[in-house]
Point group: C2
Chain length 431, copies 2
């Protein structure tokens, strides 16, 4: 057996402890698979004495995580500190700059600084690996950059945030509203005390920007991701969606058009009887489409100690086996700046909901506006009778986003229209 | 750009032509990804003049495929001839013996001779890669041996034969019987003129034996796969299954028990509302379960020119990038002989169907036998009234296979029982 791969582990939270647990539990097997032992030599965390259920007495301790990058007994740094800047970034730059391999689960770091880090890695002959940063235990980056590498990818989409999927699933299942389900999710540990990054779609946008770069060979463009969270999704729309055969999912989607790269994270409707439409709880999915392979879908746990640590250790084993391929599947210098698709150029079918006054002529006024904007109706349902207003739900044929955006304010201004209209894109997820 | 990886392509059927098409279509992009150009230098097929829609005039021609192994202008042989022996085997042995890398889509070759070929590859410093041999375009072997390598795999299962899935799906959808759907599948090119390998489960068993080896670190044991095809699945049972909320799928499943390795390919019932239960047409799925990652599921096209060629080219790119890892994820010498689980030790819920005489005491006689064998009833339905006999369908609680096998002949021997009872295992596919 050849020399061990010596690991410096920065961060001993849930995921860091999980990495130590896997290396302890499967050390002999991992050595056989990697062709050499994996050995954690040094660790760093905020609190040396906290009980994490793992024995860290055999590892050298570093108060300053950045110091791991310079240690002679570290070949590969594992960064699970988190945060797009601060010590995580300093450590990543120092490690790669010193020719140490880097494995990270840090989507924010990569979404903001991935290009620079990949260039540093290549300049120093080091590997930069980040499987755990996207969709937890699902090896989607490996599948995109290696398994499907023979293809021109045409689209990549997914449910990339388990917290949001849990909340939307629970709202549909229990009939409880957003605020109550969020509070329950926080109580169960499925949502953070400050849930903004998750429910606002930022976390999913970090992941989508990484996926898009690998799928299309473009530089990461996190700022180019059109992002909308789930905070304004109402139980009413979830229930109307179900009635029309749809579920609402926070979808991340990237597609290369002739006119530019489309990247968006947004609540969308998908057919309830598809695998993505039926996706339960905190599960994630990533679906990629290639010109030769067609559609390939992956499902699994998107977060949690075991799944995330599983992805990190897989990256470590790849590095131990000698994998030195570029972080984004192509040399960093060859990644092209992403030309953004203009927002209004999108087209799709839409779910529209209006609260209309229940009197003659109301529907005529509404449909006149739609017709004038070339928005054609595929299905329509009007529900019950109301004191003031009744819900009218319309599923459109394929429509231009710009026309929807123009029509809705006009309809909102009609005196028969109560409250702001709702528009939710219906995504065609078939291959 | 460094030296090209020179490819000798043996076989120019659908898949071989697809490989040439991908290399022609995406050559520049593949070179960027691989860090070096991929160049097909020599080809071999039965008929030099046949029009395949690709230009082969730039490739050297070899009448004898085995001669590709000895060519100075070939670094990597791609074998898409097929067949477990004959020229495919001779070429594989010669190529690896001469230190040429080998990429193959040949599941029969690997199921029978994979161990010997992997040993030859390792002895000669050559890579042996076989992604295309299992589940076509789905990169399931890469996911098992690399993406999930941090885990002790506890179970791997899948729908591994598109022909069978198409036939079962069409029977359920159209209400046509097995013979008619098979004939239609043959007319559409989804089934071979001689469909035995597919409908008899052999093809799926080849693939399962490969998956099991990679999942558990055991030597391939194709003879140890308990195999049953779909030829005897009746429309009646498909319809009763649907009525009970199940679909029938030809499942391949491998699980490591303390008592030994369970490997089987067999029609099973799965809940219709799961992704695997709703799997349409010729789609394949592979589901792996690991001790840290939980359940990871992959879906995609299991056959066809584009998907299969996509998997082959991915293997070629890996080799061009320098991947030399062992074929089955661990050194061939470390793979353990598989200790087979005794057949009767299996336990599961079962679907049982009986044709019972519609008279007092019939059900009592039936249930007395079940009770005596410790088989407990979870749900039961008796359908309509018949001239001679009526169908009685039972879903059992978890039962020992050996008890089912003992009870059924006893029930068949009852004079109230018409025609042979049917027993179909219900698989728990939840993670």
């Amino acid at each position: 057996m050849s020399t061990p791969l010596r690991i410096g582990l920065a961060g001993l939270g849930t995921v860091g402890a999980g990495v130590a647990r896997i290396v302890a539990a499967h050390g002999a097997d991992l050595a056989a698979k990697a062709g050499r032992p994996l050995e954690i030599t040094a660790v760093s965390a905020r609190d040396r004495t906290r009980n994490r259920g793992i024995d860290i007495s055999g590892f050298a301790w570093a108060d300053d995580p950045v110091s791991l990058a310079a240690r002679e007994d570290v070949d590969c740094v594992v960064e699970v500190i988190g945060g797009s800047d601060g010590p995580a970034r300093a450590l990543a730059e120092a490690a790669l700059g010193a020719g140490r391999h880097l494995v990270t689960a840090n989507k924010a770091l990569i979404a903001h600084h991935g290009q620079a880090l990949a260039e540093t890695a290549e300049a120093n002959g080091a590997a930069l690996r980040l499987e755990a940063a996207v969709a937890g235990g699902i090896p989607c980056l490996k599948v995109l950059t290696e398994g499907l590498t023979a293809n021109r990818v045409t689209r990549v989409l997914g449910v990339l945030n388990g917290t949001c999927n849990y909340i939307l699933t629970e709202m549909a299942r229990t009939g409880a509203d957003y605020g109550r389900v969020l509070a329950e999710a926080q109580a169960k540990g499925y949502a953070e005390a400050d849930p903004t990054f998750d429910v606002g779609g930022i976390d999913a946008a970090h992941k989508l920007a990484i996926l898009a770069s690998m799928a299309f060979g473009t530089r990461i463009d996190f700022e180019g991701v059109v992002t909308e969270g789930i905070e304004r999704i109402s139980l009413t729309d979830i229930q109307h969606a179900a009635d029309m055969g749809f579920t609402i999912k926070l979808l991340g989607l990237a597609r290369m058009h002739e006119q530019g790269l489309e990247q968006r994270v947004r609540p969308c409707m998908v057919p309830a009887d598809t695998a993505i439409g039926a996706l339960p709880g905190v599960t994630n999915t990533v679906i990629a489409e290639g010109d030769f392979v067609g559609q390939v879908s992956l499902f699994g746990a998107g977060a949690g100690e075991g799944p995330t640590a599983s992805a990190i250790v897989a990256d470590i084993v790849d590095i131990a086996r000698g994998a030195r391929g570029p972080a984004f599947g192509r040399p960093a210098s060859s990644l092209m700046p992403a030309h953004r698709l203009a927002f209004g150029d999108e087209h799709a079918a839409y779910y529209l909901r209006f609260m209309l006054q229940d009197r003659p002529g109301a529907l005529a006024a509404l449909t006149e506006v739609l017709g004038r904007h070339g928005i054609s109706i595929h299905r329509m349902r009007q529900y019950g009778q109301g004191e003031n207003a009744v819900p009218v739900v319309i599923v459109t044929h394929d429509s231009q986003r710009a026309e929807i955006d123009a029509a809705l304010p006009e309809i909102a201004a009609l005196d028969v229209c109560h409250s702001a209209p709702v528009a939710i894109r219906i995504e065609d997820v078939s291959g």
